[in-house]
Symmetry: D2
Subunit: 266 residues, 4 copies
Amino acid sequence: MVKTNSANQIQENDLVLVWFNEKEVSYLTQVSQGKQLSIHCGKPLKVEEWIGLNYGSSVKCDHAFGYLLRPTTDDLMMKAARESGIIYPKDAATLIMRTGIGSGAKVLEIGTGSGSLTLALASAVRPDGHVHTFDRRSDLPKNAEKNLSRANLLEYVTFHQRSAGEPFAWEQFFDVVILDIPTPWEEVEPVKAALKGGGHVVSLNPCYNQVERMAEALRAHGFIRVDCLEILERPILAREGKTRPVQRMVSHTEFLLFGTKITPPG
Amino acid sequence: MVKTNSANQIQENDLVLVWFNEKEVSYLTQVSQGKQLSIHCGKPLKVEEWIGLNYGSSVKCDHAFGYLLRPTTDDLMMKAARESGIIYPKDAATLIMRTGIGSGAKVLEIGTGSGSLTLALASAVRPDGHVHTFDRRSDLPKNAEKNLSRANLLEYVTFHQRSAGEPFAWEQFFDVVILDIPTPWEEVEPVKAALKGGGHVVSLNPCYNQVERMAEALRAHGFIRVDCLEILERPILAREGKTRPVQRMVSHTEFLLFGTKITPPG
Amino acid sequence: MVKTNSANQIQENDLVLVWFNEKEVSYLTQVSQGKQLSIHCGKPLKVEEWIGLNYGSSVKCDHAFGYLLRPTTDDLMMKAARESGIIYPKDAATLIMRTGIGSGAKVLEIGTGSGSLTLALASAVRPDGHVHTFDRRSDLPKNAEKNLSRANLLEYVTFHQRSAGEPFAWEQFFDVVILDIPTPWEEVEPVKAALKGGGHVVSLNPCYNQVERMAEALRAHGFIRVDCLEILERPILAREGKTRPVQRMVSHTEFLLFGTKITPPG
Amino acid sequence: MVKTNSANQIQENDLVLVWFNEKEVSYLTQVSQGKQLSIHCGKPLKVEEWIGLNYGSSVKCDHAFGYLLRPTTDDLMMKAARESGIIYPKDAATLIMRTGIGSGAKVLEIGTGSGSLTLALASAVRPDGHVHTFDRRSDLPKNAEKNLSRANLLEYVTFHQRSAGEPFAWEQFFDVVILDIPTPWEEVEPVKAALKGGGHVVSLNPCYNQVERMAEALRAHGFIRVDCLEILERPILAREGKTRPVQRMVSHTEFLLFGTKITPPG
């Protein structure tokens, strides 16, 4: 007896990625009544007509077909509306794996920015965890909130505004703290207080100078497993008889610095 | 009012990583009554004495201290008992991110091996998803099962034995299918049948010849977004006044090939 | 007693690189009477006025200064007039080092193209060696010849036209043969005949498939030290307090495949 | 009429690389009367018997054959007798290419060390240039001298001992100055004085802190084209049906920092 899955239909409020394979062009849009989506070919698409279609179905525009896909976490991050730099999926993936973030995790993010990393964290802590995200600016989180909302991940995130160095209202509460700010060493004290014993801190910074200074600050505060790395993602063209790496690539985004809080012997 | 978290204590059956910072040596062991853990320094540790201690606490051996940590997903994978090659965390992290695997996902793995990837998948689909993993060999899954069991992830995984090319007992059921076998192109038909519309396939192979052939097989079967990449993880020594990349690194593990199943227009 | 060097003056017919540091813009031009050089800022420069100036001197244009420099081999290659793809300096540098090309070497190049590699080879064999370069097309070498001529390297190079697979008029004559053509395996027989015992062959190809096939062809013809590699050049921004790798880089140009001809025992 | 080359015979005093292909083992030895070479298989080889053989010929030992090869510049560097760290061929190749070192060049090296870089420089300036190399230590150059001597390159190099910061006995004399010392910024003044207008400086250092400080020192002294990069050499296994990058590689050796001396406008 073959088991099939009928629950693969597009619903109202779903976030859908319309993918045009010929040009590798795509659009991310939330499904709602009356909505029209302007695209690169032909007339705008009537989004409400997708309700009830199976994911993977096609829509026609002029001579091309677009395919209606569930956005992956990678798609959510790369398509986030941006008002500042974003964290790349390759870096988010590694930090989630290295700190063991999963359902149930309590995560603190310092530096909400456009919310691209917040999207990945919210998705990873579902359904039993939560992300508290803090930014100095009051305007950025509005954009981040919109990105989370259309991805239907808002319930897993609380947004906060906070000045640098301010203590957090939690002690020994968080499994992981992630810093995406230029001067992370200023936050080591409150971060350490907020972390559980055995909890992890991650700092994301583009410059050597920053991770060096933060690594020393973490060591000075007794963190162990202070490790730094960078992730390079190299695209490959896999085609019959002529497979090779792509000619240009993103060479650098952020260094990832890790540390683990312990209870010092005593 | 400050909120604290009391539930950070080591319990019986927990899987604990004992980390010695000086030598970067660590041990992964499941907590049970009467167990003794042999280590590199001093007398064996009495594991039952850890019950009730907070994570992050230290245990003494000779002149060194070991710290009792919750293993991360990365730790689980790197410390898996091996009877065959393993998939590396960097690759598992990227494929989870790129295919949107999260709580609730139904994942099919072909090639159980030592179960290192199965550990990462099981952890990512918690608590509402499930991993069905298949291997041709009947002996390997026993080792994989042991790895999953001590990580308390067994309930999220079902192990199957199966010959190459055999159809699966599911149609349009899985969100993601992952192939970790030498000749993935032989499995495209049954994989396609088992995938939901819009579902993703990932093939992990060390040689370019394999991903080239698989990429063409996926295109021939109508898959879209057929993309290939490799992930390089470069360790950095971050130390005051003398920060630099590490001198030797893992240069290559697997190419990652992705594809998405669609319902062809018509 | 301090020794100084007076012979650092620009002469007629010298090839000069005018470098504008602010914008990292540069121009490569041969010095001659009456010549004018159009640039991005201000009026054209009168090239003849540079004769007798020391290298390193500046010329003014509007608000910027340009510096008169001797082009390096890297500059010659990157500034070569192009009618086809070029070989990059990083790859040329490694192949010269790995095959021991130096003054006196006899080098055979198959695939003249725009002559960017020919420039590097001619410069390396000076003053006692020679490069014989072959192309199937009769039009490309004219451009290559111009590039060599203005670099004052023409005397070290002889240009030839030749069809694929044709035998060469030399036996056991060349120290190194370099192939920059899409199907190098078709040339193994004549290349082997033209090489000295202990001589080296290098094939430059962008695709895995090509170097794999050529590697097997070389092994089948008894070549030893059949090795393949790729060179990645990663630019770094070195600036006070904010040093980091550049964000985008050239990820791939050519694979370099090496082999050494031996006299089989017997 | 076919031209052949009879001058490919091993002579007394030649430096020969004996290469065993099965195990990729090799030996570098200078040919002399009565010499015996101990190897990994069978009885010692009688080196004098090679005189008059063609390069590329084989010698037998037990069941294996060794091939008599001319060492390339890469071989010379990797086989240099070491009493300190060496500079790698990939880095030497790039700096020679980027600074235009060729026959006739006057090169100043600060930090002789084991002389591995000196070998590459001496080979590149042949026959009309010269390398002056300086070290603080009086013992190291003896080893370097031996390496240069057996490669028959001694006539292109002069060895000097010198304390840090001491002025050089040349003004505006050198085309290129290369620094392979831990604190290159202490040498900018004398280096600048010794360089020709338009001449190049290169500093080789493993830590980003060093190249950052040196970059700022060069800018402060009016150098232009202050550029930094690193070279990664990735080995590829090219074999029928199973071609892939090698699993481990050298990830980091030195950052290369470049600058060009100009005559400031005024």
